[in-house]
Symmetry: C2
Subunit: 242 residues, 2 copies
Amino acid sequence: MTSSPTIAGVRALGFDVFGTVVDWRGSIAREVNQLATRKGVTVDGNAFALAWRAEYQPAMEPIRQGTRGFTKLDVLHHENLLATLEKSGLKGKLDTAEIDDLNRVWHRLDPWPDCILGLRRLHHKYPLVTISNGNVSLMVHLARHSGLPWDTILGAEPTQAYKPSPQAYLGTAEYLSLKPEELMLVAAHNADLGAARKLGLRTAFVPRPTEYEENGTKDQRAEEDWDVIAESMEDLASKLGC
Amino acid sequence: MTSSPTIAGVRALGFDVFGTVVDWRGSIAREVNQLATRKGVTVDGNAFALAWRAEYQPAMEPIRQGTRGFTKLDVLHHENLLATLEKSGLKGKLDTAEIDDLNRVWHRLDPWPDCILGLRRLHHKYPLVTISNGNVSLMVHLARHSGLPWDTILGAEPTQAYKPSPQAYLGTAEYLSLKPEELMLVAAHNADLGAARKLGLRTAFVPRPTEYEENGTKDQRAEEDWDVIAESMEDLASKLGC
C-alpha cells in the first residue's frame, strides 16, 4: 500500500483524538461511578458520559457559525458539565473544586489498547499531530497522561476553528508547511474524514465500534473508499509500512 | 531551590531554542564547509553562519513593527540566505534545490551535549514547550532530528508574534491555560529573559558562552537575579528537583 502515489506523498499524520485515540465514554463512566460511590449516590456513569458528550456538538455550533467568539473546549466542557450535573443524581453534591476536577477528566482519558504501540511505530516514520477540537492544554495533559507521542498539538485552538470548519484542517496543514494532500487525517468518524477529503487531505479510517455503546450502530465501518482502511492503530502502522 | 514559592508555582517550562538548546553556529559552519568542499570553492563556514545570523533580528523587525504581515521564519531565513550567498564564495554555485536544502539546515541543527539528557529529566516533571521564533514545521523537524521531547510547539507562529513582542510570551501562556507566573522561560540570553520577566514569567538562565564565538563576550553570565541560574540543562534539571 505504501507504493501507491497517494500514500507515498503523505508527509505527516493528523489525528482525531476523542473516540479515535482515547475512549472518552469508558474513562468518564469509570470516574463518575467512582465519584458517585464516594458521594453515596446512585448515578449511571455510562449514561452520564453520553449525556455530557451529547452537549458537545451543539456547544461548538455558535462558534462555527460565528455568533460566539472562539472559546476553549475546556470552557465548553465546563458549561456542559454544569447542565449535565443538574439532571443527574450528583446535583448539588459537588463543590466548585470537585466540579473543576471532574471537568479535567477529559485531560486523563485512557487510550484504546492498540494506540500506544501503534502510534510509536507510526512516529518513527511520520510526524504525528493532533487535529482535535480539544484545546492545547487539554491535549498536552492528555498526551502526558498515557505517553501519546505527538510532535505538536494543532487543530482547533491554534487554528481558532472547530472541525468540521475547513480552517481546522487547512490551518493545520499550513502550520506544518504542507499542502493538504501531504497531510492524512486518521479518524474513526466518516463525517470527519469526509470533511477532510473535500479539502484535499488524505484519509485513514480506524473503526472504534464501541465508542458510543457496546453494540454500536454509528461509524461501524468505512462509508467511503478512504485512502487507508485499517483495523486498528497497529494495523494502520503496518499498512503505512511502519 | 524547589521549596521556594516562586519555583513551586511553575507549571510548565518554555524554551528558547536557537542558541539555548541547539548550536546553530557550529551546525551551520559544518554544513557550509562540507558544501564548499563539494563545490570546490573556499568559504569560511563559521563566518558564513555568523553573516547569515546577523540578518535574523533585522528581518523580524518590520513584522514586530507591524509594517510587514507575519511571515514564517523559514521564509525570512531564505531571504537572508540569498543575501548572504551573494557576498560569499558560494555565489552562483547553488541551484534552487541546493539553496532550499541549505535553508533547511535550521531544521537539523545539533543540540548542545547536555540537552537531551537534561530535557528528558525535566520532561518527567514539567510539560516542555518551545518559545522560539522558529516556525512550527521548522521546530517539529528540529525536534525529530535529535529527539527533543517537546510536549508542543508554541512561541512565534502560533501567537503570530516575534520575541521580544509581549504576545509571543503571553500568548504561549494563554495556549497553556497558565498565568504568566506559572510559565518559566529557559534561555541563554539575558534580553529574552528580561522581556519575559517584565510580563511576569519566571526565568531560568543557562549560559552558552560559545554561541557566537569560541571566546565569546555576549551573554557570558547572568545579568539579573534570574529565578534559576544553572550551568547546563542537566544542572537546571537538578536545580528544579527533576
